[in-house]
Symmetry: C2
Subunit: 178 residues, 2 copies
């Protein structure tokens, strides 16, 4: 599996169930959300701008995409968790199964981020992102073409402890009205 | 990692947070439990009996162990989910990173079961068990010596669809009174 195939399989609308375990407090959090993943053109100005901001040659980009999400947490049912971000994979020239993932907005902190991804033997996509005060580690894999899973760990800045572990089941929305 | 190291790292008391996603209904279930994993002697009568019942030569066994659990689900707070089982790994002679796992009592159905395990490159323990009407797939890995994660999938009998996906965070109980 290369990054183009992985992005291709991820395109579309997904209905997500996410459970977060806040480990220090043994707390559970449940989030249900709608996710949409759309392909972007290579010459899309958001892709070009993100490459420029990261001093990356735009010719090295593979399968840039755009992701939107809107969800609800059981911690605060009135709050709507919604957002969108541009994601730009930049495979390594020597080893195309790994590379950098440029993001407008990160997962653990709402600032731009560069993650390191790797597609491993079992078909999983593994992403590590270092933020100022935390490290995020994500693993995404497909159980079937219409079901994917995601494990996300938020680690302490030194990468040794895990503060939050979460698990998402993402089911493709085949109903076009959803 | 071989099965002896994996069992060795797993011994002790664990506090588990488990979230189950019942996919067809988009339902969440939360279970908190205490797990204890204890080593068994090779000549323990429960080990010998399980080998006999499965027509396995008891000399092929590696690191047999005993597991107990007691938990509570948010679906029915009065019900106590408790049980125990004997687990007996039988590594393959040609390829010792994989083998059979004999169990007194299975996960998806409360009948004896034989699973196929494999220790994969990233250090995860992967177990597949075929039951009469379902297939269970489990993956367990350590984030730190005192934190392990487990993803369990219950699949339809033909192995194609997933009915339940669950994720557990298991933290070692260092407090002896717990």
């Amino acid at each position: 599996m290369n990054i183009d195939e992985f992005v291709e399989r991820s395109l579309g609308k997904w209905r997500s169930q996410r459970s977060a375990h806040h480990l220090a407090f043994h707390h559970f959090e449940e989030v249900t959300s709608q996710i949409e993943i759309l392909p972007l053109e290579y010459d899309d100005e958001r892709v070009i701008a993100l490459c420029k901001a990261n001093q990356v040659d735009a010719h090295l980009v593979s399968s840039p995409f755009y992701m939107t999400w809107a969800g609800e947490s059981d911690w605060d049912e009135d709050e709507v968790l919604a957002g969108s971000t541009v994601l730009v994979p930049v495979p390594d020239l020597e080893k195309p199964t790994q590379g950098r993932l440029l993001r407008e907005q990160g997962y653990a902190e709402t600032v731009p981020a560069i993650g390191q991804y790797q597609l491993i033997e079992d078909g999983s996509f593994v992403l590590k992102t270092q933020y100022e005060r935390a490290t995020a580690e994500e693993k995404i894999w497909f159980a079937t073409p219409n079901l994917r899973f995601r494990v996300s760990l938020i680690k302490t800045g030194d990468g040794k402890g895990v503060t939050t572990a979460s698990f998402s089941s993402e089911i493709r929305s085949l109903n076009l009205e959803e």
